[in-house]
Symmetry: C2
Subunit: 385 residues, 2 copies
């Protein structure tokens, strides 16, 4: 395999616009991480990848923050991703792409609580056993404080930009509020300043699906069978919320999976959309830890940037960065109205805000799949920073 | 208990607007029911209740069709409902109410495939064992054909109206298309002429939650523990789709359930909306059979009134009844656009159609909870039939 024999510097061997082979790196910290819950996590590890080169004055760094099911592997082909698949935002990160790695030094780390190399419930605790539910609850603020250790470690005082979609946008906003002097620009994409009751409800239904799987066993399943059925159900349900009625209708409609006419049976998927959901569930359980799913959805639920400061306005008054806010017309998980609140408040505070509302049919996932629109919105914004 | 000691004729003992105590009745049919799948169901039983009196020329009968989780107990206090709770649409059915039982003879039967007295997967098959998954798949058309036997049995040639919300509206539409000479008016409320890919997807995620429960055991759980956890997860998820983002936000927002500040734990519900969902799940599993949930959601998925006739227009060309179509602005499960298609096609065919789009925040459940709006829409319509 090319991936295993070529050195990491053979960046352009795949295609001109790919970052090529990327090394998964691990930063280990003995300094304790003081969590919002009052608990302390120590030591902890962050898995991360970088793309492009940090310039001489360390002023071209962009931190990309991943969403619920993401990881540090944003682009190219990673030594830490055994499936040899391109990163989750390969369309956006690379030479000449939206996040142009000929210009920017792009960083992405797996969140704490995750399961892709950073310390999380599946990691070994200091006693040599997996944390499981002994892992402390984490928040978006905690994820960001862990990232701050990494940015310090990389010798970067100030990030040119921090950005991400969905939960990634929450982290970017948290950076700008908590550490305003370290963030130049926030890219807040298909996200929300505050998880709504509906979003908490969907996350809770997914968690209950995991709890209901007997293999979950109170979180103590490492070394035995994982609660794959429960996690798959959680993913199936969540996946529906990432799409839109229109995109599901366009992609599947009422098309049957196998038979020319309805077989009328419970024994197999009858409609194509059923088969697609099963596939999404199965694919997810191969790469994701159920306990991490519990912890990260909780962190999303906890997110309310105004709560720690008394109000959204009071929180945002701390920021000094510029903002790009992007919403999508068909995103019903994080409706545009949530971001519009953010934009109005930032504008009232005199911040520089560029707001792009994109008419796109792909629901919440639009930020990942609407490459042309994202190029026009995010790419053009970044060309002028 | 009043319910057990008072005779069924003491109608007004509760309150003037209640139908009082109602007797659950059972109609047993030996005639085979030929199902869309090609299978035959025989014998079969329909549980039903009636309210008001059938007039001399049998011209004042209204059939109400229930939704996914409903039953025959629409109004008053039923001998067949051991919890002594008023029927699921008590607000709408009674003396002087929307379905005025001083004027109309109102009928409601539990659908076949159900679990509230009509023949379904939890019923005993002719061999004396529960059907479980040996029960044949049923469709909305099959439910309606079973109801037709009941209407014949009651000596009613022509229903003044057939109506219902959600899956109830599907049945009403099916009546008008399949047996046009037997239906005067269709009340099509918060429903759709065709289940969308998104709706099939949500139903399938719920079914997968049931399949994932080891107590489900391929459907063979009667006599043992029921797959309550799986069914509760399915219900929790579905319940979110019955409400709206706005109504969830208004009712719960980010309010905590017990503690003044976030406890940061997986061990108990933290947000009020989580506790509410659990309550909905627990309440549901006490009254509903998991296999029935599988069969009825499948019947909903199968529903596409145009499919059997080549097109929506060809199906609707068979109808001769008048129509009242009601949609709700916040119903995202059955968006108004689906009903608008129906209305346009009916109007193009020259049918009398009254279409009311109601601005209401309660999502799909609006048809049950928006009593004042329903009075204005359905009540005023029925006063003129």
């Amino acid at each position: 395999m090319l991936l295993e024999t070529e050195p990491a510097t053979a960046t352009r061997s795949y295609e001109a616009s790919s970052v090529g082979i990327v090394e998964r790196q691990y930063a280990q910290f003995d300094t304790p991480l003081f969590l919002r819950s009052g608990a302390v996590l120590a030591p902890f590890t962050l898995a991360y990848e970088t793309y492009g080169r940090l310039n001489a004055d360390h002023s071209n760094a962009i931190l990309i923050c991943h969403a619920l099911s993401g990881d540090a592997h944003v682009a190219g082909y990673s030594t830490g991703a055994p499936d040899n698949k391109p990163g989750w935002w390969d369309s956006a990160v690379g030479p000449g792409k939206i996040f142009d790695t000929d210009r920017f030094f792009v960083i992405c780390s797996n969140v704490i609580g995750g399961c892709q190399g950073s310390t999380g419930p599946s990691s070994l605790a200091p006693d040599g056993q997996p944390y499981a539910l002994r892992f402390p609850m984490v928040t978006i603020a905690d994820m960001v404080q862990a990232q701050r250790h990494l940015i310090d470690h990389l010798g970067i005082d100030r990030l040119l930009a921090v950005g991400g979609g969905s939960m990634g946008g929450m982290q970017a906003l948290e950076w700008a509020v908590e550490m305003p002097d370290r963030v130049g620009h926030v890219l807040f994409l298909a996200s929300t300043p505050r998880s709504s009751a509906q979003h908490i409800a969907f996350n809770e239904a997914g968690r209950q699906a995991i709890y209901a799987d007997p293999n979950w066993n109170g979180g103590n399943y490492y070394g035995g069978p994982a609660p794959a059925n429960g996690l798959a159900v959680a993913r199936m349900m969540a996946h529906i919320t990432y799409m839109s009625e229109t995109s599901l209708e366009h992609k599947f409609g009422r098309r049957l999976q196998t038979h020319p006419v309805l077989p009328y049976t419970l024994a197999e998927p009858e409609f194509a959309v059923e088969s697609y959901l099963s596939y999404q569930g199965e694919k997810f359980v191969r790469r994701f830890d159920a306990n991490s799913y519990l912890y990260i959805t909780k962190a999303i639920d906890y997110f309310d940037i105004g709560a720690d400061y008394g109000s959204l306005r009071a929180a945002l008054a701390r920021t000094t960065s510029d903002f790009l806010v992007v919403t999508f017309s068909s995103d019903w998980l994080y409706p545009a109205a949530h971001s519009a609140d953010l934009v109005r408040t930032l504008e009232a505070l005199g911040r520089n805000v560029e707001y792009r509302h994109i008419d796109a049919p792909f629901g919440h996932d639009s930020f990942l799949v609407e490459v042309d629109h994202m190029e026009q919105a995010v790419g053009s914004y970044l060309r002028h920073v």
